[in-house]
Amino acid sequence: MGERGRLAEGLRAYWLIAGMWVRSAMTYRTSFVVTMCGNGLMTAMDFVAILLMYAQIDSLGGWTLPEVAFLYGLSATSFGIADLVLGSMDVLGARIRDGSFDTLLVRPAPVLAQIGADRFAVRRLGRITQGGAVLGWALAAVDIDWTLPKVLLVPVMVVSGAAIFCSLFVAGAAFQILAQDASEVQNAFTYGGTTLLQYPPTVFGKDLVRGVTFMLPLAFVNWVPASYVLGRPYPLDLPEWAAFAPPLVAVACCAAAGLAWRAGLGAYRSTGS
C-alpha cells in the first residue's frame, strides 16, 4: 500500500471512528449542548482576562486591543481546530501504560488515525466558536487598509496554524511513546504555545521569540503573518515574504511530525513498552 493509500485509509478510519463518537454524543442532546456551551464559556473567560487588562492600559507592548484580539483570535481558532481534530492524543501515554494501545495495532487501520479520532468530541467546537468570534470582532475593529494578499492571508493563517498545532500534537504523542508519563510536557507545548501566541511578541524576550520562530515555528501561526496584515514590524528581522511562509512551515512541521510518529511507533514495536 502506497503513501496515498495509507492516507486514504487513515482518513477513512478517522471518519468512521469520529462519526461513531458524534452519533453517540447526539443520543444525549441536552448534555451535548450544555457541555459545548460550557466549553465555549470556559475559553471565553480566557479572553475576558485580556479585556480586563486593557481596562487598565491602552496598549500592551505597543499593540492595541483589536490587534491583540487579532492575535488571540487566530491562535485560539487554529488551536481549536487542532484540538478538535487531534485533541485526544494526549492520552496516548496512558493507553500504552494500560496496554490498550496494543488493541489499536491489531486493527486494519493506521494507528495515528485511530488514536486521533478516539473520543472525538464535538463540544470542542466551543473553543473554535469563541476563537472565531474574537477573530471576527478583531477583523472589524482593526484599522487597516485591506489588500487582496492581506484578505487571502487570513484563512491561510488559520489553516496553516491548525496544521502546525496538529503536528505539535502528533510529535508530542510520538514523544509520549518514549516517555509515557510525558502528557504534561506535551500540554506545556500545545496549551502553552497557544497562550503564548495570544500576546504580542514585543512583550517577550528576544531569545524566546527566536526559539518559537526557528526552533518550534509557532511564530508562523500568527505573529509573523499578523504583523504583515497589521502593517507592523516583524518580531525579528525577517524578510517580508516570511509572512507568506506559514503553508510551507506547516507542511515541513507535518512532515517532521510524521517522521517522529513513525520513529516512535517503530520504537514501540521493537520494545513493547
Binding site: 468512521l16 496494543d102 495495532l105
Partner: protein
C-alpha cells in the same frame, strides 16, 4: 500439511533499563523469546502455556504484528506480520483477556458496527456472523449496554464476537478465561470448540488454566524462559514430566499394603489404599493382577495433576533437557 503459522528461530530481545543511581541507568538485555520454532497447520487448536513472563504474550504480539521480532523468520498466512500489519489484520482475530478491544464507553453494538465498516465486511456476512455470535455467546440482551457496564464474562464474550465478525482464519486468545466464573468459562470453551469444528478456524490460545487446554486443545506447547520446552499431545506431557498416575483401591477389609510392582503404595486409610505407578505404564495389567489377588470392592484411576507435571518440568528445565523434550 498446510503450515498456516510458521516460526523459524524467532527471537525477541528487549533492552531493559534499570535505575542504578541518580540519572545513571543500567542496560540489560532480556531474551523474552529465545529461538522458538514451530508450525501450526490450518484448523489446529493449540494451547500455549507457561508461567508468567515466559514469553507467551510476546509471541502472540509478534504473531499479530504488534511487535517486530529481533531475529528469525515469522509468517502467518504467508504474511510477515511486522511488515504488513494492516493487511494481516483482516485475516486474524485477537482477544486479549485482560483488556478489551471494544470501545469502553459505548454500547456493545456500536463497536460491532464500527468493526463492520472498518473491516469492510459485506452487509450480509456481517449480519450472519453477528447473529450467530449473538446466539451462541448469548449477547442478545447486552448489545445496547455500554461496555464498561458489562461483567467480565459478558465483556469477554463481547470481545470474542468482535474478533470474529470479519471471519478471521486464525484466532489468537491471550488468557481468554482469566477471571471468569465456571459458567462463563464453559460458555467460552463451548463456543471455541464449535468455532474450530464448524468453521475450521485455527485457534492459538495462551492460558494459565489447564482445563482450557484439556477441554480444547489436542496439541500443547510449553514455553519457559522464552524457550519451547514441549510441543506435542497433552497426554505426552505426562511422560516427559515423568509423572505418576494413581490407582485408588477399595478392598473388602483392612489389609497390609498391596504388593504389585511397578506400582507402590503411597497411602493406606482403612480398607482404602492409594497406589502410584508411572503414567507411561498401562493400568490394565495392574488392575487385573490386583483384582485377581485381592478382595476388591471398587477401584478408580486418577490422572496426574497436569499443573504438577508442568511444575516438575519447569523445575528440571536445564536447556539440554529442553531440546530433548521438543519433538
Amino acid at each position: 500439511m498446510d503450515a498456516f503459522i510458521q516460526l523459524d528461530r524467532v527471537e525477541k530481545v528487549f533492552e531493559v533499563r534499570k535505575k542504578a543511581g541518580f540519572l545513571k541507568r543500567e542496560r540489560r538485555q532480556v531474551r523474552a523469546v529465545d529461538s522458538i520454532s514451530f508450525t501450526v497447520a490450518r484448523g489446529e487448536m493449540v494451547g500455549y502455556i507457561g508461567p508468567n513472563g515466559a514469553g507467551k504474550s510476546t509471541t502472540i504480539k509478534m504473531l499479530t504484528g504488534i511487535l517486530t521480532p529481533s531475529a528469525g523468520r515469522l509468517r502467518v498466512a504467508g504474511i510477515d506480520p511486522s511488515r504488513e500489519r494492516t493487511r494481516l489484520a483482516h485475516r486474524i482475530g485477537v482477544v486479549f483477556g485482560q483488556r478489551t478491544t471494544l470501545w469502553w464507553d459505548l454500547p456493545l453494538i456500536d463497536s460491532y458496527k464500527l468493526m463492520h465498516r472498518m473491516y469492510r465486511i459485506p452487509d450480509a456476512r456481517y449480519r450472519d456472523n453477528l447473529d450467530r455470535c449473538v446466539e451462541l455467546l448469548e449477547l442478545g440482551g447486552l448489545l445496547d449496554v455500554p461496555v464498561r457496564q458489562l461483567s467480565l464474562g459478558q465483556r469477554m464474550r463481547g470481545d470474542i464476537a468482535a474478533a470474529l465478525l470479519h471471519e478471521p482464519e486464525v484466532l489468537y486468545l491471550d488468557e481468554p478465561t482469566i477471571g471468569l466464573d465456571v459458567i462463563s468459562k464453559a460458555k467460552v470453551r463451548g463456543f471455541l470448540r464449535e468455532l474450530n469444528d464448524e468453521r475450521g478456524t485455527t485457534v492459538l490460545l495462551t492460558t494459565h488454566d489447564l482445563q482450557d487446554i484439556e477441554q480444547l486443545c489436542s496439541r500443547v506447547m510449553v514455553i519457559d524462559h522464552g524457550r519451547l520446552m514441549y510441543d506435542g499431545a497433552l497426554a505426552g506431557l505426562h511422560e516427559v514430566g515423568e509423572s505418576e498416575r494413581t490407582l485408588v483401591v477399595d478392598l473388602e477389609r483392612e489389609l497390609p499394603p498391596i504388593d504389585a510392582a511397578p506400582a507402590w503404595v503411597v497411602r493406606v486409610e482403612g480398607p482404602r489404599q492409594w497406589l502410584a505407578f508411572p503414567a507411561a505404564e498401562s493400568a490394565a495389567p495392574l488392575v487385573a493382577r490386583i483384582a485377581a489377588e485381592y478382595p476388591l470392592v471398587d477401584l478408580s484411576v486418577r490422572e496426574p495433576d497436569i499443573e504438577a507435571v508442568i511444575a516438575k518440568m519447569y523445575a528440571g528445565s536445564a536447556p539440554g533437557q529442553a531440546e530433548k523434550a521438543v519433538s
